[in-house]
Every structure is written in structure tokens, then in C-alpha cells.
Symmetry: C2
């Protein structure tokens, strides 16, 4: 699924929304807990109810691994379900992996061979051989650049004559693959920095977390980050998936996703 295909979906749905499946079992509706795989049933209902408004889903592996092997299976079932039902929707395994070459190869196998994910998030700290094994599959590798959390200020802004660490990560990483293979995570809480990042990578897609519960503004993100092919995938998780925890949860999630989609539609008309 190259840039052009993603942009086609964006145009078709008038949306650049990614729904984060941070499906914490302690936060899903109680009535699901009697089922044999409550988190999978939750994800299935959320996906079916929101798919017409979204171009991507992003299951966050931590929320599955915390339930052990059974949780890991739920993660895998979720990815397989989405790709079987909605093959045009991008599935991003939010794993933030990264290790020496032979180990990253195994993580790549886990995400791209065991299951049909389209993308994985990767941490850049260990450099080129920790990232390139993920590129061999012709899928998307999404490298952490500027994250949306408070701790982003601890190291990502370390600066020398070549720029800030997150800028150096972008500049170096972009040499390892084309903009049809590589995206970057750029936190929405610093939307004005998107303008500077766009000077370095005008054409890459950016995965923007932190709109919604983490407090970013969609308007600002679009203003500073959008390019000719939209170039943005904006994630929202808790504000959509946990908007309601009654038997109505999927319906309410659908309404919340639609609200975001409508805002995105108007932004697409304004900026791209």
C-alpha cells in the first residue's frame, strides 16, 4: 500500500483518521467480559462501527501483551480480522521495536510474516541496522521522531550544529528508504514544529498521535503539516473507543469517529 493508495483512501473517505486500538481490558464495557475473548469482541465491534470514517487502525501491542500470550493472540486476531474484512484500511502495529539487526529481523517476522500488518512503529535509538530489517517487506516503517509526551523533551531536543536529535533522526533515516516505505511519528502537541519538519520532509506521511486525549489540535496539525497528498495520518484512541462504556459503545464510537471525519473533510478542503 504505497502513498498513492493511502491518498486514494483519504480522498474516498474524506478522512485521515487512524483509530488507536489501545483496548485496555479494564476500560471496555463490562457486558463484554463474559465472552471468551472480550478485547477481540470489543475491537471487532469498534472496527465495524468506525471503518467507514477511518483509513487506519493502530493496535498498541502493550495493551495486548499485558494479558500475556492470550492477549498476544487477541492482537494477532485483531490484525487478521481487519485485513480480511477491510483490506484497504492500513493496519499499524504500534510496537516501537528496535534492536540489533538479527533481532529486528525477528520482530519484523512477527509483525509482517505472522500477521498481515501494513506498518510498524520503530524506535531509532540503535540506528540503521535496527531499522533496515523492517524495510525488507515492502511495508511501512514508521520511525519515532518527535513524540507527544512530556519525556520527549528529555533527549529528542538535544541539539548541536546539525540540529536537534529528532531532526537528525529524520535526516539520517530518510536516507535509508523512500517516502513510499517510511513515515515518521510527530507528536501533535507541538504542531508549530510541523512547519519546520515539513521543510526537511515535504513529501513523507506523518503519523500524528496525541489528538484528543493527549490534547493536540487537529486544526493546527492540518495547517502546519498537510501536503499535496494530505501527508497526515492522525490518531485518536481513547476519545473514540472509550467514549461510552454501555452496550451502546460501538454506536457512540461511530458517532465520535464521524465527528472527527467531518472536521477532517473540511480541513482537506481548506489545505490540500
Amino acid at each position: 500500500m504505497n502513498q498513492e493508495k493511502i491518498f486514494e483512501q483519504i480522498k474516498k473517505k474524506q478522512s485521515f483518521l487512524c483509530v488507536g486500538l489501545d483496548s485496555d481490558i479494564t476500560k471496555i464495557p463490562q457486558h463484554l467480559l463474559n465472552l471468551s475473548d472480550p478485547v477481540f469482541e470489543f475491537n471487532k465491534a469498534i472496527v465495524d462501527a468506525t471503518q467507514q470514517y477511518t483509513i487506519a487502525y493502530k493496535p498498541n501491542l502493550a495493551f495486548y501483551e499485558c494479558m500475556g500470550a492470550k492477549g498476544y493472540e487477541t492482537f494477532e486476531k485483531t490484525v487478521r480480522y481487519i485485513k480480511a474484512q477491510y483490506p484497504d484500511i492500513l493496519v499499524i502495529a504500534d510496537a516501537k521495536r528496535g534492536d540489533i539487526g538479527n533481532t529486528s529481523e525477528m520482530y519484523a517476522k512477527a509483525i509482517f510474516e505472522q500477521i498481515p500488518s501494513d506498518a510498524i512503529t520503530v524506535s531509532p535509538y540503535m540506528g540503521e541496522d535496527s531499522v533496515t530489517p523492517f524495510l525488507k517487506y515492502g511495508k511501512w516503517v514508521i520511525v519515532l521522531a518527535l513524540t507527544s509526551n512530556k519525556g520527549a523533551f528529555d533527549f529528542q531536543f538535544i541539539e548541536n550544529e546539525n540540529g536537534k536529535l529528532y531532526e537528525q533522526v529524520i535526516k539520517k533515516t530518510m536516507q535509508w528508504a523512500t517516502d513510499d516505505q517510511l513515515m515518521f511519528v510527530v507528536g501533535a502537541t507541538k504542531a508549530e514544529m510541523l512547519a519546520d519538519i515539513r521543510k526537511i520532509i515535504p513529501h513523507h506521511f506523518l503519523l500524528v498521535p496525541g489528538v484528543g486525549a493527549q490534547g493536540g489540535s487537529l486544526q493546527e496539525v492540518a495547517k502546519y503539516g498537510m501536503n499535496k497528498r494530505c501527508g497526515l495520518i492522525v490518531n485518536s484512541s481513547r476519545a473514540i473507543i472509550f467514549a461510552d462504556n454501555t452496550t451502546n459503545f460501538a454506536k457512540i464510537a461511530s458517532i465520535k469517529a464521524k465527528e472527527v471525519q467531518e472536521e477532517m473533510e473540511s480541513l482537506l478542503k481548506s489545505y490540500s
Copy 2:
């Protein structure tokens, strides 16, 4: 298991060896493949055969996740087996996780609640709130500082007036916890840098990968890195666990581990 307890084990066994359980199913002896959980049987045999020479085991999650949910279960069974049989041996989940606070909390739960691991490796890129959730369990958090791979030179050596990135990672991270909670990964391929690192953190334990297949020298590591409580946990993986792939594999692994232990014994006498 605090520093003192680890040092007691080191003195008792005259060893600071960690065996890395990078148990690639394509490299284990063929005769195991007929069993219902070949990698677990392999790990069990390796652990039973080497435990008298080692103070730690380090299962590397990638080699389990690449087999999907079943592999994740093998990882969990391995950790449980080691802690049930050999409670004094440190089990390090080599996961290199790190995400925003609420997500790191879930990874911590996976590693410290679901299973009785003693330690986890963590990537520092996302800063304080990505690391501190792992500290709440009173177990060990092992932060990547200077890794042993070629890609280490891409970002870890970025330098400004406050030092190199890996030095800044150490200086900042050490403020978040005591040396009874925190260790650092320091690659053995740059042993002379251990002397500089020891100026910043004289008392912390260092987890040193890269001795053996990755090419570091144990002599050099001990010379530059050892402190009064040894302060080193040196990992060897492939050179021990894949030394032989016949039905004799466990016996040969035991011999290889004993060889390393004997070298460590003489180094402990020379330097600590």
C-alpha cells in the same frame, strides 16, 4: 534482588555470565522439532545444563514473538520455569520497550505482573515518562545507553556541550532511580569507553552484550568496567546456546559456559 544479592551470586558462582536465550527455532537441534514446544524444551535443557555457571538469563522477546502467540507463550513459560527452578538467578526480559506513560505501564504489567521477570531492557528515546512506569515494581530497569551494533554510531554519539547522547542518557536517567533499580546496557565492542562511563556511574551494574559472536573481549570489559561489586553482567548467547546442534547440545553448552565462567573467575580475582 538488589545489588548486594546479585554480588552474592557472583561471588558464589565466581561468574558474571548472562546466557542470552535468543532461541531461534531455525537454529535449535532438529531432534527437538517433533516435541510440542521445541523452543521451550531447548531453553529448559540449556538452562539446566548451564545454571551452575550463570547468574542471569536473558530471553530476547523477538525470537519468541516471531512465532506469534504460541511463541509468546514459550517466552512466558521459559521465565516461569527459570524462576521456579532457580530463584536466585536473574531473569532479564530483553524487550527494549518504551512508550508514553500509560503504554509503558502496560508493558511493565506484561513483564512484571504476568510473569516473574526480574528485569527489563528499555529504550530511552521517549524520556522519563517512558521509563518510570517500569520502576514501580521494585525490579530492575536496564536502559539502553551505548549499544554494541554498527548503528550505535548513527545517533548515540551525537554530541554537544553536555556530552554525547549516550552520556546524557546515563546522566539524566540516573536521576530517576537508585543504582539498586537501574542498570545500563553498554556494548562490549567499545570496551575502552567503559572507563569514561565508570566516571559517571561508578556503582551501577552494566549489562554488557556483544561478548562472543558480536566480538567483544571479556578481558577488556573487566579491565575497564569492573567495580568493587563486580558491576558487570556480561551476556553471551549464540556462542553458548548454539555451540552444538546434535543431541549433545546441552552438554556442549555447559562446557562453553564453564569455559567463560573460568575466565570470569580469574578476572574477578584480578580486578575486583
